[in-house]
Amino acid sequence: MWRWFHRLGSPRWFYQTSGRWLPWLAVLTLALLVIGTLWGLAFAPEDARQGNSFRIIYIHVPVSFLALAGYYVMAVAGAVNLIWRIKLADMVMTAAAPLGAALTFLALFTGAIWGKPTWGTYWVWDARITSMLVLLFLYLGVVVLRNSFSGRDTAGKACAILALVGTVNIPIIYKSVDWWFTLHQPATIKLSGAPSMHPDMFKPLLVMILAYYCFYALVLILNTRTEILHRERRTAWVNDLAVSELAVTELTSNEQ
């Protein structure tokens, strides 16, 4: 058990193992994304009230899920780094922050586009949208804090603390925003809670949620691997890797 734990913390071991799984994960992600997108765009029936604009749900909802889940991934990685001083956890955290910020942005953006045909306006100060905006701020805080430190260990610890403080505050922020919204809810805009979806609409959504979980894992692993290479670039094994992948890098640098 402890040997396994120890090995899990080794960046080199992670790099090599994840390298073996990566192609399969990439294929699975792509397949799920293609199936889900086609199903959602072309085969699911349109919504009776919203028409075809409801098809944005197949991006918006999975992305929102992962934007929120990603914050917990980041915070847990930070906590692991703080408690057990596992460097790999800090690399995962470094990888998770910009990814989460991008997904939160995407959730806000698709939500805004969806809002235009549905509510007639791009931006509504709705509870969920406002919470998402706060989440974006929380992510950006971690990203910027990470970049402003010169010492890597200090940056890792500081970001971990910030992420944990954010985590315990997220429920409070969400509840308060919820409360605030019920207080100010304008009469003209009635946001129905999720009405029971028709199975024909719901099945592609499930596929898309699964697809985006795979996508998140894929990008997180890609980012972590790059971070590993960057931090371990003075070690022998990374240098060996650079030599053995000489042909590949030659190819990409020629393309650029």
């Binding site: 706060v134 804090l145 402003s148 200090t154 610890k157 500081a158 403080v165 308060s176 409360w179």
Partner: protein
């Protein structure tokens, strides 16, 4: 000035009596509190900054939106709260700055007294010199912005808890950014999301009373957020200081 840093009367007395590890934890708290208040008192110009900011910027609002009384009284609760938030936020930046610059912070960290308690003392001092004056000045601004009469007591009570919560959360941000040269803007970004609940409950409380309702629920929620911050912040701030300085 450095003289004032080294020999506040209380600290000297403390040092003469016992070695620090034998002192009860309360001594450290009182010592830091007295020292910070004394320092703030000696720099009265800086002391007044957040307050002046609070008053001046609030005075800009009627200039910007027009002097109609109905409009102003509608905006008043929210505006006063936002300005109190900004006033506290601006001053949070300097919470650990001078202590970091002259090495006092390192002394605090290695001292045998529990760091979270010393941090709490610093936060308390910060609130006494920024949050409290803002709270006390708020009714004057309420008058200027035509806040309906019913709102004043709630405004003051809410701001007392709210500015304390701002100071508590601000301390976390200040500790995380203390070693950075351009910490100010970053501090705002880090701390702002944590301020959301306070702003929501605080301004809603005033709004409710003005509208003829009861402010009980939002004030109670505000108190809960304050209690939560009081539990969380000293430890998070102490951890941040350790991480930011040792690392």
């Amino acid at each position: 000035m450095t003289e004032a840093l080294r020999t506040p009367a209380s600290q000297q007395a403390v040092q003469e009596r016992l070695p620090p590890e034998l002192l009860p934890p309360g001594e450290g708290f009182v010592g830091i509190l007295k020292r910070d208040l004394l320092l703030a008192f000696r720099h009265r110009g800086e002391l007044a900054n957040p307050l002046i900011f609070f008053i001046m910027v609030t005075a800009l609002i009627p200039i910007a939106v027009g002097p109609q009384k109905a409009l102003l009284s509608q905006l008043a609760p929210g505006m006063i709260w936002v300005m109190a938030l900004l006033g506290t936020l601006l001053s949070s930046d300097s919470l650990f700055q001078s202590d970091y610059a002259d090495g006092t912070l390192e002394q605090l960290i290695i001292s045998p007294q529990p760091l979270w308690l010393l941090v709490l003392a610093k936060i308390s001092a910060h609130w006494l010199v920024t949050g409290l004056p803002i709270t006390l000045a708020a009714p004057i601004l309420g008058l200027m912005l035509a806040l309906p009469e019913a709102g004043y007591a709630t405004l003051v009570l809410g701001l007392a808890m709210g500015t304390a919560t701002f100071s508590l959360f601000g301390a976390i941000g200040a500790a995380l950014t203390v070693a950075l040269r351009k910490g100010g803007v970053l501090l705002s970004l880090i701390v702002m999301p944590l301020y959301f609940p306070v702003l929501i409950f605080g301004s809603a409380a005033v709004q409710r009373v003005v509208d003829g309702g009861s402010a009980g629920a939002p004030l109670a929620l505000l108190g809960a957020v304050f209690a939560f911050a009081l539990l969380l912040s000293p430890f998070a701030t102490a951890a941040s200081l350790r991480a930011g300085i040792n690392g």
